[in-house]
């Protein structure tokens, strides 16, 4: 009895002591980086490779949503050196002065990232000073080719009643408004109340034809044949096609939302040189390829795209065609008044 007790107290003591020691050594030491990223958004083997090559240890943390990432970051419990998040959240961090400029001069592999992706990211980071594009994609229509009556190339199919009761919309305010705004030919970032109200009318009229407003299950419902088409993200569409080869994905000709996830160096970073090394490492062809094969979202790394098989290159969910981005826009933060109005309009749609 006493023996067990002693054992337990020794174990607890050791655990406490070691955690205290670890607590002291982590964070500010020179050879370490603390990174927060989405879950399953980086091949873990690449972290080991980075440590092996540079001797810099990486403390890697994960968050599920941009909001959760922001909560983790702003609580200040852990001082992160690098963050990866979605366009609008990175924009918020830049505007709040939370990010440091990236020392591009020290990069060897920046050229692997296509200029057009930096142009894309300039919507949230005008001078491309703070953010490194990591993965990107579009929002479009995933549909069952065996059940549609005509080729799908426009948002119209969601609204004209041809597929009444067979359509799934995104249960997300920005995404659903995006569809309506683009169909009407307006910007997804409009601040014009009349345009928003017009979009709302369209969505209200569409509601009886909508089977459901879903997020994660949208893809599965089309895969299972419960619906003919759904508004989904391109990465989801790739997986949908893997499960059911009759499915196809299209970015409608009116344009869509294009999203881009970026890395940035925080103002807490004590050693930007190491952080830059990490970002440069991510741009390297072999590393970017490993990450691409781990996640299967569209990569901005042109070296990786060049090395793909013809089949993969032809897959628009992996490599969106050049013109797919033509009418696409990145969602940026809107004014508080617009956000409030949109919230109200969205609530009315859901309540109808």
């Amino acid at each position: 009895m006493t023996m067990t007790k002693r054992l337990i107290s020794i174990t607890i003591l050791t655990a406490l002591l070691s955690s205290m020691l670890l607590g002291c050594s982590s964070g500010q030491a020179k050879g370490e980086l603390t990174v927060v990223n989405y879950s399953e958004y980086l091949d873990p083997e690449m972290l080991d490779l980075f440590t092996k090559e540079t001797g810099i240890k990486v403390n890697y943390e994960e968050a599920l949503t941009p909001e959760e990432m922001y909560a983790k970051y702003s609580s200040g419990a852990v001082k992160y050196d690098l963050v990866c998040s979605s366009d609008y959240m990175m924009e918020k961090l830049i505007k709040d002065g939370e990010l440091k400029e990236i020392p591009w001069d020290s990069f060897e592999n920046k050229g692997n990232i296509g200029q057009k992706y930096f142009d894309l990211a300039s919507a949230i980071d005008a001078k491309n000073a703070y953010t490194l594009p990591y993965f990107w994609g579009t929002l479009g229509i995933l549909y069952d080719t065996t059940k549609v009556k005509a080729p799908v190339d426009s948002w119209d199919v969601l609204f004209n009643g041809d597929y009444a009761g067979q359509v799934i919309m995104q249960n997300s305010m920005r995404d659903s408004f995006m569809v309506a705004l683009k169909k009407l030919g307006y910007s997804v970032n409009t601040e014009n109340p009349d345009e928003l109200k017009e979009a709302q009318e369209l969505l209200l009229k569409q509601k009886p034809d909508v089977q459901a407003y879903l997020v994660d299950e949208a893809r599965d419902e089309v895969v299972a044949g419960n619906a003919i088409m759904a508004v989904v993200y391109s990465g989801e569409a790739y997986l949908g096609h893997e499960y059911n080869e009759n499915l196809a994905y299209v970015v409608p000709k009116e344009g869509s939302n294009v999203w881009i996830d970026c890395f940035g160096i925080t103002k807490h970073c004590q050693n930007p040189e190491n952080a830059a090394k990490f970002l440069d490492f991510l741009c390297r062809e072999d590393v970017a390829k490993a990450n691409f094969e781990y996640i299967y979202y569209s990569t901005p790394n042109e070296k990786v795209i060049e090395g793909l098989s013809d089949d993969e290159k032809a897959d628009e969910t992996l490599v969106p065609p050049a013109n797919a981005m033509d009418n696409c826009e990145v969602c940026v933060q809107q004014s508080p008044e617009t956000t409030e109005l949109m919230n109200e309009l969205w609530k009315e749609i859901k309540a109808e």
Binding site: G165, N171, S172, M173, K207, V210, Q211, A212, Y213, L214, E221, A224, G225, N226, A227, N343, K347, E348, K350, A351
Partner: protein, 280 residues
């Protein structure tokens, strides 16, 4: 003597301390925070406007729909519970325990999983419509309707109605029923004059335990309503998660709490004469 008394008091305090800590930390404190948010605006000034939000047409509509779902589900639970319990009453002890066990068994599984299972059963190409097609019956369009939400609510909360009714009915002395029968009472009279009145305390706590959670739930309606139908719970959830307006969300929550309190007041009044089995 005095010492013994104070000893007793201190022991009572000691025994009650987990309860006090629990209630203070997980009921009183959150309630204070919610009330604080409910009565302030974004700038921190005192206001009643958040509470008044419940009267806007959108919110009233959601409240009415919640009420519709909650009342019809509660009634459905009562109608299902009585025959089941009456049937169980005549079983031997072993069979009775087993049938009770079977009823509670699904509760060992996470309730979201059970609701997701219903989604699979009720969806357009789901299990139900597959079975109907074997008999050449036209597929039902239940998915993403109020009916499917109600099915989920009834399925989930039925045990909370059955168990108190079961306990109350099992307590009824068989002699009472035999005496009534000797005096010429038919089955219906026995049910109305003896079983129903004596099981009233169980029925009332069942009503509270089904009505209140179904009035405020949002997960079931989210999954089985396909995001097309809004209960007031969904509206509140969205104020917190997507609109990021904690003041409005808290205001609606407090208004809903008051509403539920008022509707429950009817139940307690009825119940005063009954036995103590309601949760308050």
């Amino acid at each position: 003597m005095n010492e013994a008394k104070s000893n007793f008091t201190s022991r009572r305090i000691l025994l009650a301390s987990p309860y006090i800590v629990w209630v203070a930390g997980f009921t009183i404190l959150p309630l204070i925070i919610i009330i604080h948010y409910a009565f302030t605006d974004a700038g921190g000034a005192f206001t009643f406007s958040n509470l008044g939000l419940i009267f806007s047409p959108i919110h009233l509509k959601a409240v009415m729909f919640s009420l519709e779902i909650a009342i019809s589900s509660t009634v459905a639970c009562i109608l299902l519970s009585y025959p089941m319990v009456m049937a169980m009453r005549h079983l031997g002890l072993g069979k009775r325990t087993f049938s009770l066990f079977i009823l509670i068994l699904p509760m060992w599984m996470n309730f979201i999983l059970r609701i997701l299972a219903w989604q699979m059963i009720l969806s357009n190409n789901g299990i139900l419509n597959m079975i109907l097609s074997w008999f050449s019956i036209a597929p039902l369009k239940i998915a993403n309707t109020g009916t499917s939400i109600m099915i989920g609510v009834v399925y989930d909360y039925l045990p909370y109605m059955m168990l108190p009714i079961y306990t109350a009915i099992m307590d009824i002395n068989e002699d009472l029923i035999e005496a009534a029968r000797d005096l010429g009472a038919g089955s219906l009279t026995i049910f109305l004059k003896i079983i129903l009145p004596l099981s009233l305390p169980g029925l009332l706590s069942g009503i509270v335990m089904v009505f209140v959670p179904s009035m405020t739930s949002f997960v079931i309606s989210d999954i089985l309503g396909g995001g097309k139908l809004q209960l007031i719970g969904n509206v509140i959830e969205q104020e917190f998660t997507t609109a990021n307006n904690w003041h409005a969300g808290s205001g609606l929550s407090v208004a809903l709490m008051i509403f539920v309190l008022i509707s429950m007041a009817f139940t307690t009044k009825e119940h005063k004469e009954g036995r103590e089995s309601v949760i308050w």
